[in-house]
Subunit: 322 residues, 2 copies
C-alpha cells in the first residue's frame, strides 16, 4: 500500500488513455457515446470475484485479459462490434506490481479490439472487478438466445473443456504434465472471445449464446427462451488432443458442464450451412456441428454409443450452488 | 442461505420487470438500447462496498435506494435524462429479507425516474453493489466539469453536511437527539439526486459536478479541468437548521469536506443568474450562490469574518486515504 496513491492518481496512472471512439472518456461525471444512425447499443456487465471467478494464483496480466475477455464474449454472442467499456475495481490495497500487470493485460486486449475505456470507479475492498461493455449492432440485427427453431442445426466454436481441466488440476483431482497444464491454464486464464465470429454470424445464425457456465446449462437457456428442445451428440463435441487423452468421465464433466469456455454456441437453419462455414472461415475460427433443435422441449444427449447420456447429475456451474 | 435459489431464480424473482424504454432487457447476453436521433448516451458507473460506502447498519431498502441514487446523481451532473441501468450484485448469501428490502428501495427510485433495469450479474462474494447507469442528452449538450470560466458565479443545490453528521454520530464523535439523528440518517441513506435540476441547467450552467466526495475536493476537480481558480465564501454555504446548531468546527468539517451530499455544484455566467433561478424553480430545488470563479488557479475559502480559512488540513474523502 502506497498511501500517496489516491483514487485519482490511480486512475490517471493505470487506467486513462485518450479515447478514439467515444465522445467523452474518463474524468467527468459521465462518459458519452454517440451512436451511429442505424445502429443500436448492446450492453453487457459482469462482476468477477476472487475465489469464485478466478483463483488467487492467476497472474495479474492474465486477470486483466480475462476480465475484459468474458465481457467481449457477451458482445460476440450478440454479434455486436466492440466500442467501449467501464471498469470498477475494488482492491484490498494499491499494489503497483498488480496494477502494472492487470492494466497491461487489460489494455492489450482492449487495443486488439479497439475498445475505449470510458469510465469507472476504484475503491478499497475485497478484490472485485466489474466491467460493463458497449458494442454496436445494426438496428434489429442482434443475435438473440430466443431465435432457435425446430430443424435448426446446433453449432459450437473452438474446443470445449480445457478451462475446466485446469480447475480440476488446481483442485488436485487430476494430474497433468507440464505442457498439458500450460495449455489448460491458458484456456482458463487467457480465453480468446469470438468477437469476429459473432459479427460474421449476423443474418446467418438464428440464435447464439456464449459458453460461460457450461454447455448443458447455457444450451438450456437457449432452449427455454426459444421454446424448443435439442438433441446433442456427445461424440461430436470438439475437444483438444489434451482433453481427448483424459478419462471418459472427466471428458464428459469438462466438455458438457465445464464452464469458462467462452466459445459461441449457435443455431442455424440447415440451408445456412455453407454460410456458417464461410463465416467461420472469415473469422478464422473453427466451428463444429454438434446436434439439432427439435420442437419438443427438453434436452437429450446421445453418447458415442448411440445411447442416451443421463444428464440429471451433471449440474451446470451456478454461482450460488456449489 | 437458501440453496434452492440459484442465480437465475434470484434475477427472475427480484430483478426482472418488463422494460419500457430499452429495446431488450434482462435475459440475453446483452441488453440493447436504441438511441434517439440527435441524442447521445451518457454513462456512469459506481461500485459500492460495505464498510466503505455504506455501513452494515443501513436498512436494505435504504441501501437499494442509495445505490441507484448515487448513479442518478452522476447523470444529473451531466444534465442527462435517465434511461436504464445494469446491476451487479455480490452477496455473501441469498437472504430473502435483504433482497426484498433492497429491491423494494431500488425499484421505487427506478420507477420514480422511469429507469429500466436492463441487465446485470449476481454472484456469491462480499457484499458489493455495482451499477452502471445510462441517460440521454442532446448531442453536445452534456454539462461538463471543464466549462467554468473566470467571472462565473459558483452555485450549489440544497444544503450540505447532514450526511457527514450522521457518519460522525456512527463514529461516536457527536451526539444528536432523536429528531436530529433521523434527519442526518435520512440525508446519508436516502439522498435525492437532483435529476430535474441537472436537466434544467443545460444551456444555463457552464460546468457542473455532483458532490459525492465533499465540496472542497469536488470543486477542485472542476477547477483543475477548467484551468481556473475559485473564491468560496464559507458563510454562504447552505446548511440545515440541524447543521447550524453544531459547533463551528464540526460545521466546517461537514459542509466543506463532508461527502455523500449528492447535491449539484455548478457555475454560470452572472448574466445567467435569472435563468439559474428559473431552472431551480422549475426543478423545485433550492440553489445558493456560494462564490465565484477567478482566472488564477487555486481555491481560497473566505470565512464568515472575511479572513481566509486554511484548507490544507481539510482533506477530501478519498477511498484510498483514510
Amino acid at each position: 500500500m502506497s498511501a500517496s496513491v489516491g483514487e485519482f492518481d490511480l486512475i490517471a496512472r493505470w487506467f486513462t488513455r485518450p479515447v478514439k471512439r467515444a465522445a467523452l472518456g474518463v474524468g467527468d461525471d459521465c462518459a458519452v457515446l454517440t451512436p451511429r444512425a442505424g445502429f443500436q447499443i448492446a450492453i453487457s456487465t459482469d462482476l468477477l470475484v476472487e475465489g469464485r471467478h478466478f483463483l488467487s494464483t492467476v497472474p495479474p496480466q492474465h486477470l486483466g485479459h480475462k476480465s475484459l475477455a468474458v465481457n467481449l464474449s457477451d458482445l460476440a454472442a450478440c454479434g455486436a462490434a466492440p466500442l467501449a467499456f467501464t471498469l470498477s475495481l475494488a482492491l484490498p490495497r494499491v499494489e503497483e506490481s498488480f496494477l502494472d500487470g492487470f492494466s497491461k493485460g487489460l489494455w492489450a486486449l482492449a487495443e486488439q479490439h479497439q475498445l475505449d475505456l470510458i469510465g469507472g470507479d476504484t475503491t478499497a475492498g475485497p478484490l472485485t472487478i466489474g466491467i460493463t461493455i458497449f458494442g454496436e449492432v445494426p438496428t434489429d440485427g442482434a443475435l438473440l438466445r430466443s431465435g432457435a427453431k425446430p430443424g435448426d442445426e446446433l453449432w459450437v466454436s473452438g474446443g470445449l473443456g480445457d478451462a475446466r481441466l485446469a480447475l480440476e488440476w488446481f483442485r488436485d483431482r487430476v494430474s497433468l504434465d507440464e505442457a498439458g497444464l500450460r495449455q489448460a491454464r491458458q484456456a482458463m486464464e487467457l480465453p480468446e472471445p469470438r468477437v469476429e465470429l459473432g459479427q460474421a454470424l449476423r443474418g446467418v445464425a438464428s440464435s447464439a449464446i456464449d459458453l460461460s457456465d457450461g454447455l448443458l446449462g447455457d444450451l438450456q437457456h437457449v432452449l427455454r427462451r426459444s421454446g424448443v428442445g435439442a438433441v446433442l451428440e456427445e461424440g461430436l463435441i470438439p475437444r483438444s488432443a489434451l482433453m481427448a487423452r483424459q478419462t471418459p468421465e472427466l471428458q464428459r464433466l469438462c466438455v458438457l458442464t465445464g464452464g469458462d469456455d467462452y466459445e459461441l454456441l449457435f443455431t442455424a437453419a440447415p440451408l445456412q450451412r455453407s454460410s456458417v462455414l464461410e463465416a467461420a472461415k472469415a473469422a478464422r475460427t473453427p466451428v463444429t456441428l454438434i446436434g439439432r433443435i427439435v420442437s419438443e422441449p427438453g434436452l437429450s444427449v446421445v453418447g458415442a454409443s448411440g445411447h442416451p447420456v443421463p444428464i440429471e447429475d451433471l449440474r451446470s456451474f451456478d454461482h450460488f450452488v456449489t
